[in-house]
């Protein structure tokens, strides 16, 4: 009605101000509302907590993952050994926890590696001019053309038994694994970032920022990167279970993390030979891998819906 259409300024303070909604809080709300994604997030957080506790808190770990008890070989799950014992008498519960932590480390580690390389390559390609773009894209093409798993196996074989400066022992193992998987995985994110940056380059706010003389670095880090992060976060979330899977496959064919450390893949490989006689050894690590993948998949779905509700 005509009378309500006009709102004199004096009455403004009487209205309850609406909350500022930025990109992130919007996304967050959408994510929370997605039940499955929320479940995934919560379960994942629980797993992470248990994994960390299971490796640093004695009460949770209960047994040393490497301690062998030859009187208790291949025991079924009991109150004493929650997941039973393996063929060398080691407690499967503590080994699965150790494996979970390693798998999480590998999964996240690979994505950090991927992010660093992806941002560098994708950013350089998008912002560095035509020649740089072509050059980077050619490199990406070559990396993309490599059959994934085969390249990982080759890289892992090259790295096996080599020593890295500064780090040693288990950390070295995890780092080498991250390199082997990461070298193959960075391509998708690089392409994604490049695509995003290229389209952002033409957007008004970037042109405006450049027009007022803002330095490139500020443009990139303050204005462009935050806007690329949406799809990148989604890609990374989906990438983590893939990295965990890759590690499981490597462990299964025998070139995974060095013994006696347990990784989920190695546990599956150990249990695989005992499927007919002692199925528990394979059931729990497989279940752990499955759970991790559930969580990340649903979380990823949720994030994608939350951050990019328009398209897929």
């Amino acid at each position: 009605m005509a009378r309500e259409a006009v709102r004199p300024l004096e009455f403004e303070e009487e209205f309850v101000p609406r909350r500022e909604r930025g990109l992130w809080s919007d996304a967050y709300r959408r994510l929370i509302r997605n039940r499955l994604a929320l479940m995934g997030l919560v379960v994942l957080a629980a797993i992470v907590v248990v994994a960390i506790a299971g490796n640093y808190v004695d009460a949770v770990q209960r047994y040393e993952p490497e301690a062998q008890d030859h009187q208790e070989l291949k025991e079924v799950p009991s109150g004493d050994h929650f997941f039973g014992t393996d063929h060398l008498g080691r407690d499967t519960w503590s080994r699965v926890l150790q494996g979970l932590l390693i798998s999480l480390q590998v999964g996240f580690g690979v994505q950090i590696f991927v992010l660093i390389i992806g941002v560098s390559v994708g950013g350089a390609a998008a912002l560095g001019g035509r020649a740089m773009d072509n050059f980077m894209m050619r490199i990406t093409d070559v990396a993309y053309a490599f059959p994934d798993l085969l390249a990982i196996i080759l890289l892992r074989s090259v790295f096996q038994g080599r020593d890295l400066p500064l780090v040693g022992g288990r950390t070295q193992e995890v780092v080498l694994m991250i390199f082997a998987i990461g070298f193959v995985a960075w391509v998708t994110v690089a392409r994604l970032i490049r695509g995003q940056m290229l389209s952002l380059k033409e957007r008004d706010f970037v042109i405006a920022a450049r027009a007022i003389g803002a330095p490139s670095s500020r443009i990139v880090f303050r204005h462009m990167l935050p806007n690329t992060l949406g799809p990148v976060i989604v890609a990374i979330t989906f990438g983590i279970p893939l990295a965990i899977f890759a590690e499981a496959v490597l462990g299964f064919i025998g070139i995974g993390i060095a013994p006696p450390t347990a990784s989920l893949g190695k546990l599956v490989a150990e249990g695989y030979g005992q499927i007919q006689s002692h199925i528990w050894m394979v059931l729990f690590p497989t279940g752990a891998i499955a759970m991790l993948m559930f969580c990340f998949t649903f979380l990823g779905d949720g994030l994608r819906d939350a951050l990019d509700p328009r398209g897929r």
């Binding site: 499955l36 096996q160 038994g161 025998g254 006696p260 490989a269 030979g273 007919q276 006689s277």
Partner: protein, 566 residues
């Protein structure tokens, strides 16, 4: 989507799935069963063997069809079925006549062997089998273009090493090799020195005849199409498909020197390396014979008590120690390590009791000692182990360097390493690192002597103690990668190597065995491996060889005896 409804459904299905999996696993008993042990499956009721039938076995893929080149057991297994040499070894490892009419006529000084072939020998394609075929066979093994991996066994033959070691092919060098076909049925071999074991060597695959009528020179490429080859063994190769399998049919021109001819219509071998898969195929009735996965030993023993067989395998495994490493030069340290290993427990835990714990390097059946012979000197003894370590200057492990145990990546290799690591920590309180690498890397490191502790061992080439010593434990031996260098051992080796007196020779090798074992010279033996087979109850003729000369299947040194009972 409603969360609570979803969760209930989820839980139900997870429970159902778990129950299903448990059901699948639950029929199996993991109590230690005691299945048939060391029995010889030849005892089918008399008259039950039938003529015909197809035997389906599990095998490994051969890398090559060329017996003059091969070194892999999987290759030799197949080659022994389709070719035979002048002699063959029976179940007691005694040489028997095969293609030869009689045992060799040896000259006074023992260097010239004259052998007459049996009458009327034919190849599978109908061509006569002549002495030239044997001459070419031996020359092919010595040929440097062929690069035969077992040439070194023929090192005693005049000119073989010279030809093989030359940088390029030289026809003159080949002609100078001490093998000659005097006429169509007489072969003359000249050795550099008398070698009492040479008749045994004439039963081995590198001396098999070559169908010279199909080749122009000894170094020609060996065909991979079975139809392009000719055979003189009990079977002919019908098909050979890489990655899949091969099939054998009886050779119509088999000379049956011991009077035994194949009764089967066909043998079909499928290449399966993953023994868990093979076990499942056996359970499903798709195989009549398979090698057994030691990871599943208990289960299979209980599941198939009458079909499980454990046969002796002429191999010894132990913890090899690089004696160039400072701390391992000390005998006390080596004794400490050896006495820290509970061989019985190792056997139970890692291979479910499948092997024979032993402290003797050479197996008894090959001229060594019984497995418990040196238990007192180097066997498991916690107290003495700690004492030795203290004597060496590392009381309770203090100051002992962290040694690396290098293993392959198979589950049992890794389990062995993990067991040893745990044993050294628990008994001696020393820390060790396990390094698991793939097969080729491991072998490379071993050859280059880049290791400290290395679970490894030996499998005999032929049933004689010299094969366990020469090149392995003499100073500077080509296979002596752990650098065992003991003057007493060297002195005895010199005496025994060309000793024509067989009894004295064997006694000398026994002494050498004692020295190697009690002085832990490069190796602390921990077991003799056994072969484990699953043989269907209607299979007959798979008899074990006394020292386990079988390559990949029970009795595959004598496949003409295999048959079916129904």
């Amino acid at each position: 989507m409603s969360l609570s409804k979803h969760w209930k459904f989820l839980l139900l299905t997870v429970a159902a799935l778990t129950a299903l999996f448990a059901f699948a696993a639950c029929g199996d008993d993991d109590e230690e069963g005691d299945g048939g042990e060391s029995a010889t499956p030849t005892e089918a009721p008399a008259g039950a063997r039938i003529d015909g039938g197809t035997l389906r076995i599990q095998a490994s893929e051969p890398a090559s069809l060329d017996p003059h080149f091969s070194s892999f057991a999987s290759d030799i297994h197949l080659q022994r079925a389709i070719w035979r040499g002048l002699y063959s070894l029976d179940g007691q490892n005694e040489p028997q006549l095969s293609m030869a009419a009689d045992f060799p006529d040896i000259s006074e000084d023992g260097t010239v062997y004259t052998i007459t072939l049996a009458d009327g020998l034919l190849w599978s394609d109908g061509e006569p089998l002549v002495a030239k075929d044997f001459e070419w066979g031996i020359k092919r093994t010595c040929n440097n273009l062929v690069a035969g991996e077992y040439q070194y066994v023929l090192t005693g033959v005049v000119g073989c090493d010279a030809h093989y070691g030359a940088a390029a092919f030289d026809q003159a060098l080949e002609d100078a090799i001490g093998v000659k076909a005097v006429d169509a049925t007489t072969l003359e071999i000249t050795l550099a020195q008398a070698q009492p074991t040479f008749t045994i060597i004439l039963a081995l695959w590198m001396t098999f005849p070559m169908p010279s009528h199909l080749f122009t020179a000894t170094g020609d490429a060996w065909p991979t199409d079975p139809a392009l080859l000719a055979y003189n063994g009990p079977y002919s190769l019908e098909t050979f498909t890489p990655g899949q399998g091969h099939s054998l049919v009886p050779n119509p021109n088999w000379s049956a020197p011991q009077g035994v001819s194949p009764t089967l219509d066909k043998i079909v071998a499928t290449y399966i390396d993953d023994l868990a898969v093979a076990a499942n195929a056996y359970r499903n009735g798709e195989l009549d014979f398979t090698d057994v996965n030691t990871q599943e030993l208990e289960t299979l023993r209980t599941e198939f008590p009458d079909e499980y067989y454990k046969f002796l395998h002429p191999s010894t495994r132990g913890l090899e120690m690089q004696m160039n490493v400072e701390v391992l030069k000390d005998l006390d340290v080596r004794l400490a390590l050896s006495k820290a290993i509970d061989r019985e427990a190792l056997n139970t835990v890692v291979v479910q009791g499948g092997n024979e714990p032993s402290t003797s390097w050479i197996p008894e059946v090959d001229g060594g000692h019984p497995p418990d012979a040196f238990d007192a000197e180097i066997g498991f003894n916690e107290v003495e182990a700690k004492q030795h370590l203290a004597d060496a200057g590392f009381p309770d492990g203090a100051g002992f360097p962290n040694l690396t145990i290098l293993v392959g990546n198979s589950p049992s290799a890794v389990a062995t390493a993990e067991f040893l690591q745990d044993a050294f920590k628990t008994v001696l309180n020393i820390d060790t690192t396990v390094e698991s690498v793939d097969g080729a890397t491991r072998s490379d490191r071993f050859t280059n002597q880049e290791f400290e502790l290395f679970p490894g061992g030996w499998l005999h080439d032929y049933p004689d103690p010299e094969n366990w010593v020469l090149g392995l434990f003499d100073t500077g031996g080509s296979l002596n990668n752990y650098n065992c260098s003991d003057p007493d051992i060297d002195a005895l080796v010199d005496k025994a190597r060309f000793n024509a007196d067989n009894t004295e020779r064997l006694a000398q090798y026994k002494e050498i065995n004692e020295l190697i074992s009690t002085r832990v010279c490069g190796i602390a033996p921990y077991w003799h491996e056994n072969d484990h087979w699953l043989v269907d109850s209607n299979v007959v003729g798979m008899a074990e060889n006394i020292s386990g000369n079988d390559s990949s299947a029970a009795g595959d040194w004598n496949m003409e005896a295999w048959g079916l009972a129904s």
